[in-house]
């Protein structure tokens, strides 16, 4: 008798719990399957060839400029740049963000930015746009250090920043803070306000960092690659909506030594993540998804050396581009390579080849008006840039019969 009543109560409790689940689910927006946006193809139509092998064989990327982005006055150290292309209607063509201060992890490190003027093609003087004290005041708790910035442009033309902010400890105590561009004023034409810390971990939300560029989605949202690095290092894909709010998270690998995933969309649903390897293999590691980020699995390593250093990827027209340090140790060389499928890469150009001990690292890439921009850390002192334009074979080597 008692057992029957217990069963009845259990059934009643289950019914209440089921109703609660339904009511709770009803308050939420449905999560439609993700699809990578195809914006890069539209942006570069005409400037960069389509994906056919024949079209790509008829030209090459040629360096059309290089230099350094201005540093904030009197700041000796810079690292971890991120690039963000702006729409063609914007007076600035490209934004660069990086962290700058006395040294990496110094108390006075701030996020600096510079804008590339579309008309003149010159970089604006660097300005400091995010500091830990202001960010802490907005969030209501202290921030020990700030680090890698990642930038994203939403559908309304608002620039979002995702910035690493540490709690008690070094980078392994990092959190990801989401900042949204605030209304410009004459004194601060570029300003950001902290929205929230992305909730990623139960352990006081520590040890998640970002570094590499997000993958835009067709629904206006993005996939933000992030990674965990306390003792074990593993990458995760964060799906954010068109406002930058967290919608889903999926670990990409559990091997424990991969970080800083750089995403490549082979098509709308099949993506690759090329990753820095902190283990002894010294290779660029790969994870792959066939269902737009719901499930990831480890794929075969690329036959490219990697000295435990960040890589950058970009899809331009029909080809994928990769910037990486092509060596097992040291960061004194930086190379750009291209691929049609993301797995077979051919070397394109040596961006830097410095003496042993020099450092060219942490690249970022963006596509602006059909031109590829690459930025990277130069000796930890400044951010260098190089620009490449697609030169078709007909232009580079005219037909023999032509005058």
């Amino acid at each position: 008798m008692g057992f029957s009543f217990r069963l009845l109560r259990a059934a009643a409790a289950l019914a209440i719990a089921a109703l609660l689940c339904l009511a709770d689910a009803g308050r939420r927006a449905p999560l439609v399957p993700a699809q990578a946006a195809q914006v890069t193809l539209a942006q570069v139509a005409g400037a960069v060839p389509s994906s056919s092998q024949a079209a790509l064989a008829g030209g090459h990327w040629e360096r059309t400029g290089q230099g350094h982005i201005p540093m904030p006055q009197g700041v000796p150290a810079a690292h971890a740049s991120a690039l963000l292309a702006l729409p063609a209607t914007h007076p600035s063509a490209l934004l660069a963000f990086w962290f700058a201060g006395d040294r990496e992890s110094a108390p006075n490190v701030q996020i600096a930015m510079s804008a590339l003027d579309r008309a003149s093609g010159s970089w604006s003087p660097a300005r400091r746009v995010v500091d830990r004290w202001e960010m802490g005041a907005q969030l209501g708790f202290g921030i020990r250090r700030i680090g890698n910035p990642v930038a994203w442009l939403d559908g309304q033309g608002q620039v979002h920043l995702f910035v690493v902010a540490t709690g008690l400890g070094g980078w392994a105590a990092g959190r990801v803070v989401h900042l949204r561009q605030s209304a410009p004023t004459p004194q601060a034409p570029w300003a950001w306000e902290a929205v929230a810390v992305l909730p990623l971990s139960w352990l006081w939300n520590t040890s998640y960092l970002v570094r590499t560029a997000p993958l835009p989605l067709a629904d206006g949202g993005l996939v933000l690659p992030a990674y965990f690095e306390l003792a074990r290092k593993y990458p995760v894909a964060l799906r954010l909506d068109a406002q930058g709010a967290l919608r889903a998270m999926a670990p990409m690998s559990t091997q424990g030594q991969m970080l800083q995933p750089a995403l490549l969309a082979r098509d709308q649903r099949e993506w690759l993540a090329l990753m820095r390897d902190s283990g002894p293999a010294g290779r660029i590691r790969v994870a792959r998804t066939l269902d737009a980020g719901v499930r990831w699995s480890d794929a075969e390593d690329l036959p490219l050396d990697n000295p435990n250093a960040s890589v950058a990827t970009l899809t331009a027209g029909g080809q994928h581009l990769l910037v990486y340090n092509p060596q097992k140790s040291g960061r004194d060389r930086l190379r750009m390579a291209s691929s049609l499928d993301g797995t077979l890469w051919s070397s394109m150009v040596e961006l830097e080849n410095g003496p042993p001990g020099s450092e060219y690292s942490y690249p970022a890439m963006a596509l602006v008006d059909g031109q590829v921009w690459v930025s990277y850390t130069d000796q930890r002192q400044s951010i260098a840039w190089q620009r490449f334009a697609w030169v078709s074979q007909a232009w580079a080597a005219p037909d023999k019969g032509r005058p």
Binding site: R6, A17, R28, G140, F141, G142, W204, P251, T254, R295
Partner: protein, 237 residues
């Protein structure tokens, strides 16, 4: 281990977007939460000392700690506690409130209320406390393994899903299911868990993730201490 092994589970936890809290109220919750937790900790701590003057000043010390936590900005304790430990869970805040209510307002010191003789008439309700503590410890270990990616699926991500709410409601109703008496809900930790779940459903505090609302790492550590004390008490009895 490949993530393909946990694919169906991942699909389950990714079919609905998480509900997140309004960030504007979070600093206030953090200050109030740390104020209550600190006040409860100070109150509990002074009871451990024999010095009468310290016991007499216990409430004053707790008040000072709470007020200190409420100061916004770098002069406030919650600003620095938030740096390291973010926001205490709603459960920790609820337990702190319950403890302060008993010990300060009702003036029933916790030693007698919380850890009576196991042979006493209240043994059954204490057994519920132990069961909930063991559940919290098990859940905490799962979450900790998940943090370091030792599990084939993400327990933490499940905390954003509606089904986690249903499971925790069943856990909160467990004493009623087992005993048939609604009054058991007022004796067991359900009396704290049920309001915590209700507040979470309404506010999504502190992060939108259910596990952050019901079990923070310090509470997880505290549950180990509690169970250790219970074990030693049972050994002595």
């Amino acid at each position: 281990m490949s993530w393909v092994d946990g694919s169906d589970w991942l699909r389950l936890v990714q079919d609905a977007a998480p509900l997140l809290p309004q960030p504007s109220l979070l600093p206030m919750l953090r200050q109030a939460g740390w104020a209550l937790v600190l006040a409860a900790l100070v109150t509990a701590l002074v009871q451990c000392f024999d010095a009468r003057w310290l016991r007499d000043k216990g409430r004053l010390l707790a008040l000072v700690g709470a007020l200190w936590a409420c100061i916004p900005g770098p002069w406030g304790l919650s600003y620095w506690l938030g740096l390291a430990f973010q926001t205490p869970s709603l459960m920790a805040i609820g337990l702190a409130l319950s403890y302060l209510w008993r010990s300060v307002v009702q003036r029933r010191w916790p030693q007698s209320a919380q850890y009576p003789d196991p042979a006493s008439a209240r043994q059954r309700s204490l057994a519920w406390q132990d069961r909930y503590a063991l559940f919290g410890i098990a859940m905490g270990w799962l979450l900790l393994l998940d943090v370091f990616a030792y599990l084939p699926w993400s327990v933490y991500a499940w905390g954003f899903h509606p089904s986690a709410n249903g499971l925790l409601l069943l856990v909160a109703l467990w004493p009623w299911i087992a005993s048939g008496r609604a009054s058991t809900l007022m004796q067991a930790p359900s009396k704290v868990l049920l309001p915590v779940l209700a507040l979470f459903w309404l506010s999504r505090w502190p992060t939108g993730n259910l596990w952050d609302a019901v079990l923070d790492p310090w509470l997880f550590v505290g549950l180990h201490g509690y169970m250790l004390m219970r074990y030693r008490k049972r050994q002595r009895a």
